[in-house]
């Protein structure tokens, strides 16, 4: 069965993981680079034959260490996305979206109690392309390449700016599974 088997009705649920380089920029220090791993959960629904709107929830599997914070920063992103399938039957698509990003760190008190604190928040964009490949039983494999930009801004802890004006951009390759 080929991608032409897409019913393009109803909705999809997808999960996936990916990896790619991430470049961070700051107002108070030099930029830094690292390789990050991301996971996503996607909910989508067909609006027309070639258009799908969705919500993507994304998190990093290896949170980012920033000097000035007591623990690694853990970005969590919620995106509203639109995907366009140029072919009425093929699985190729392009996708874009925007949404909210929060950066969290864990803090530990003197008694050992841990708490997760949001130290920054801002906007995020995504643009990418991918291909839905049918593997059977309403399951699809989706390799994709995405560019992401996010601007969490200042990381504030204890009322003080610990990291100034953080923004980051990344390109990652993901492999996901969709169920329709």
């Amino acid at each position: 069965m080929t991608a032409s088997a897409q019913a393009r009705q109803g909705g999809w649920i997808g999960i996936g993981v990916g990896i790619g380089p991430l470049q961070s920029s700051f107002a108070d220090r030099d930029s830094q680079s690292e390789t990050v791993s991301v996971s996503y959960l996607h909910f989508g629904g067909w609006t027309r034959q070639r258009w799908m709107i969705g919500i993507d929830l994304e998190g990093h599997n290896n949170p980012i260490r920033l000097v000035g914070l007591p623990d690694v920063a853990d970005p969590v992103t919620v995106l509203g996305t639109v995907a366009y399938y140029p072919s009425s039957s093929g699985g190729f698509y392009v996708k874009g979206g925007t949404g909210w990003l929060g950066a969290f760190v864990d803090i530990v008190d003197e008694f050992g109690t841990k708490a997760s604190v949001r130290v920054g928040q801002g906007f995020s964009y995504i643009a990418g392309t991918g291909w839905d490949v049918y593997v059977g039983k309403r399951l699809w494999l989706t390799p994709a390449v995405s560019f992401r930009y996010a601007h969490p801004g200042d990381m504030v802890l204890g009322g003080q700016v610990r990291v100034a004006n953080w923004s980051h951009r990344s390109v990652d390759v993901t492999l996901g599974v969709k169920f329709d």
Binding site: I107, E110, T113, A115, V117, V156, L157, G159
Partner: protein, 142 residues
């Protein structure tokens, strides 16, 4: 309906009796205002720099939602001291442990000197601080 314990009512009565201030006649527990000169216990304020409404506390307070205060979380709950403290005075020799949750649970910070702005103390609430974040307090007298 708010849960109110007999213990907290007795505590409020004792606090009122021990202070020189006038206590509210309502049935809800209430802390007396902070004295001008703090010789024991702690004084908490809803504003930074020891400003705004104050309260004097000289023993453990397990649930600040039970004490009438200047803050309200919603229209359905009474105004209380829960998530309402922005600065704290501590009498000499006294130690207070402030908790982010009721029942002496959650993220906690030990205070052994005056703190004019809890917004500068690392915690789990707004801007990663303890400002407007305290829900229970342990008071250790010398």
């Amino acid at each position: 309906m708010l849960r109110q314990t007999v213990g907290s009512r007795l505590l409020a009565v004792a606090l009122c009796a021990a202070s020189a201030t006038t206590c509210d006649n309502s049935s809800d527990p209430i802390f007396p205002s902070a004295p001008t000169s703090l010789t024991s216990g702690i004084a908490v304020y809803d504003g930074t720099n020891f400003s705004g409404t104050s309260a004097y506390i000289d023993r453990d307070a397990e649930d600040l939602t039970e004490y009438h205060g200047p803050c309200d979380e919603s229209e359905d709950t009474m105004r209380s001291w829960d998530d309402c403290i922005s600065s704290i005075r501590v009498a000499a020799g006294v130690t207070a442990v402030i908790f982010a949750d009721t029942g002496f649970k959650g993220f906690a910070v030990t205070i052994d000197r005056d703190v004019a702005d809890l917004g500068l103390i690392v915690g789990p609430c707004h801007r990663g601080s303890m400002n407007n974040c305290v829900s229970s307090i342990r008071v250790r007298l010398p």
